[in-house]
């Protein structure tokens, strides 16, 4: 005999996304959007450059989101957001949160200049990079966010990506912005908390959100959330916050990190890796973990 009880929902209930959108089955980027909008609420305007979300929302004359979107040019998430924020304030709207919402390509690569400029000026915008570790919208080409070892169409197995992932968080820390954080769709409560904190802060706020992509990672759609958790539990994607490039705070103190091999084996993009190559990945993850832990005061 079951006790009748209420459903305890751990995230805000209000939805700002409608179904019918064009995301692939199991899309991590869509979970990222759904969670972030729950944290930001309706008075939000997104500047979305070329990326999966330029398409997921739906073509003209439709949109599946309940907030305003400005589809902007590829390099311009941060510069469009800077202008949009300034314009809104000048016409009397000081409440709408302006968000630059870009993928890893539009953040780490082509959009990096505009992001650096906006951060240096401390523009009053939130910049969210949803990171699926390649140019997925154009068919899985490598970006500087693609991790060591990954297959992409431009880093095929014989020439797999042989450079480490660019450390975007160190770059943003160097700009000494008021708030930055990493988050994962595998930990939505943590993500929403960080979004809410960002919303209450003024100046440039940067959120690096880990968003697995079944299509590009060659993983099962149902494993997306599991991968979002494993990335954190292996120490591959540590969750932390920073203020002004320091005051680093770990969000989840992983006591015994899972081996990177557990993460790698769920993704076809790593299938070609030899044990010694996985070991290189493991060492890189270990080094980075130690560094973050030390930065966050051990």
């Amino acid at each position: 005999m079951k006790k009748e009880k209420t459903m305890k929902l751990t995230l805000p209930v209000e939805e700002y996304m409608n179904p019918g959108h064009l995301a692939c089955q199991g899309c991590g980027a869509t979970l990222a959007m759904r969670f972030v909008l729950k944290g930001l609420g309706p008075k939000t305007a997104l500047c979305i450059p070329a990326c999966c979300w330029a398409v997921i929302d739906g073509p003209f004359p439709y949109s599946s989101l309940e907030v305003s979107i400005f589809h902007c040019a590829f390099e311009t998430a941060a510069s469009s957001a800077s202008g949009l924020k300034a314009g809104l304030e000048m016409v009397g709207d000081k409440d709408t949160t302006v968000v630059g919402w870009a993928g890893d390509g539009g953040t780490f690569d082509i959009g990096l200049q505009a992001l650096s400029g906006a951060a240096e000026r401390n523009e009053d915008i939130i910049y969210v990079c949803y990171d699926n570790e390649a140019y997925m919208n154009t068919g899985i080409q490598r970006s500087s966010a693609t991790p060591y070892g990954a297959w992409t169409t431009t880093t095929p197995v014989k020439h797999f990506k042989n450079r480490p992932k660019k450390d975007i968080n160190a770059i943003m820390a160097a700009h000494r912005i008021p708030y930055q954080a990493t988050a994962s769709i595998g930990y939505p409560e943590d993500l929403v908390k960080k979004v809410k904190k960002a919303k209450e802060t003024k100046g440039t706020r940067f959120l690096h959100v880990y968003a697995p992509c079944p299509a590009g990672w060659k993983s099962r759609p149902e494993d997306t959330v599991k991968l979002g958790r494993l990335a954190v539990q292996t120490g591959l994607f540590p969750l932390f916050e920073m203020e002004y490039g320091e005051k680093c705070k770990l969000s989840i103190k992983v006591k015994e990190r899972k081996p990177v091999a557990d993460y790698v084996k769920l993704q076809g993009r790593f299938r070609h890796l030899k044990p010694e190559e996985i070991q290189i990945m493991q060492e890189e993850v270990d080094k980075r973990w130690e560094r973050i832990v030390a930065q966050c005061g051990g």
């Binding site: 739906g58 305003s68 400005f70 902007c72 800077s82 202008g83 809104l88 000048m90 400029g117």
Partner: protein, 385 residues
């Protein structure tokens, strides 16, 4: 109030009187004074605007687009390579129907580095959908800027205002600065046709398939075709308030002219001096200075060129490589079928800021009077061959 100022500052004053609300700009010679004065105006609050000190021209135009979409009146200025760096976004602003107004100092493209006057920078953007005005005096720059806001906002089409590098941007002239309250009565606050607002959330600029793209462009062209009449009407309205009228094409001693120069920018003023000199020598010369280049003032040009039998000498401080001077191409094509018997010749001169002098105009006149039509080759004036 009359004030001696440089051409660049006339742009700044135009933006200030026009009550620009967001300015995003990046420095480039010879535009820097435009933004420096605007910075001061924002700092001492004589202009209530946000000045975003962006880190490149590409970001400048991106920020202007964002601000304009929010419904703010937006202004920027650049030159040459800065304009070229904005190219992708010039399309964006125009197709996005955002009435950004921009000053562009016509400066030669590199390599080698040049800071001197040449029109290739703006003319290579003529297909992007921006209105283009070519100015010849500091007063005209200020008056055009204020009027440009009005026309652009009425049509939802962005506009750029050209000044020759140094010969206009840095030349000091007396400018009559209109009173702010009179400008306010002429130019009310910006009422955006479409704007981004949290009160009515929409997605702007989403993926547009072949099923929908064509009609949007049709609308864009149709609205742009209203511009010549609107620029003329706006000019008349401005004249009523401020006593100065600007034409789409400034005609000088053209009615009985046998030889018509067609010019733009400050070259158009040298042409007037040449016309007077030639008349003294018995040549019935005249000048048409094209001020509105985009949209092209077809009707106005055809009316002014008028009767057949004339010789038209188009002087281009620009060149579309592999083709001809750009004003020449456009004038010739506009007159096709409308000015039978009129011979149109094209002269390329002054690239990279080389002076186009009175002597050069006399050389052009002598050539145009004896050249046998239909001469289609480029006639180079002032090149060491």
């Amino acid at each position: 109030m009359k004030k001696v100022m440089m051409g660049n500052h006339a742009l700044s004053w135009g933006a200030q009187l026009g009550r620009a609300q967001v300015i995003a700009a990046y420095p480039i010679t010879p535009q820097t004074q435009v933004v420096e004065l605007l910075s001061e105006m924002c700092a001492d609050k004589s202009l209530d605007a946000k000045f975003i000190k962006v880190e490149s021209e590409h970001s400048a135009m991106a920020a202007c687009i964002g601000a304009s979409l929010a419904g703010a009146r937006t202004f920027t200025a650049t030159s040459a390579h800065g304009l070229a760096l904005m190219h992708e976004l010039l399309h964006w602003a125009a197709i996005g129907r955002l009435p950004v107004v921009m000053g562009n100092i016509n400066r030669a493209m590199a390599p080698g580095w040049s800071i001197w006057s040449d029109q290739n920078d703006s003319l290579s953007q003529r297909d992007t959908g921006w209105m283009q005005y070519y100015c010849a005096s500091n007063q005209e720059v200020l008056d055009t800027t204020i009027q440009a806001f009005k026309v652009s906002e009425a049509l939802a089409v962005p506009g750029m205002i050209m000044l020759d590098a140094f010969t206009l941007s840095h030349t000091y002239e007396v400018v009559d600065i209109p009173e702010q309250d009179k400008v306010d009565s002429f130019l009310p606050p910006f009422q955006a046709k479409l704007r981004l607002s949290s009160d009515d959330p929409r997605a702007f600029g989403g993926l547009t398939s072949p099923e929908h793209y064509f009609e949007l462009r049709y609308k864009q062209q149709k609205d742009m075709e209203k511009a010549p009449a609107l620029v003329a009407e706006t000019g008349k309205e401005y004249e009523k308030l401020f006593g100065r009228r600007l034409e789409l094409i400034e005609a000088y001693r053209n009615e009985d002219a046998e030889l018509l120069f067609v010019t733009s920018g400050t070259t158009g003023y040298t042409a007037r001096v040449a016309v007077d000199a030639l008349r003294k020598e018995g040549v019935k010369a005249g000048n048409l200075r094209i001020r509105l280049f985009r949209p092209f003032p077809f009707a106005e040009l055809r009316k002014l060129v008028g009767r057949s039998g004339r010789r038209v000498a188009v002087v281009d401080r620009n060149l579309s490589f592999g083709h001809h001077g750009i004003f020449f191409q456009e004038v010739k094509s506009a007159l096709y079928g409308h000015a039978d018997g009129t011979a149109v010749f094209g002269y390329v001169s002054g690239l990279g800021g080389r002076d186009i002098s009175l002597e050069h105009f006399k050389e052009i006149a002598a050539d145009a009077l004896k050249r046998r039509p239909p001469a289609e080759e480029i006639v180079w004036i002032g090149v060491r061959k």
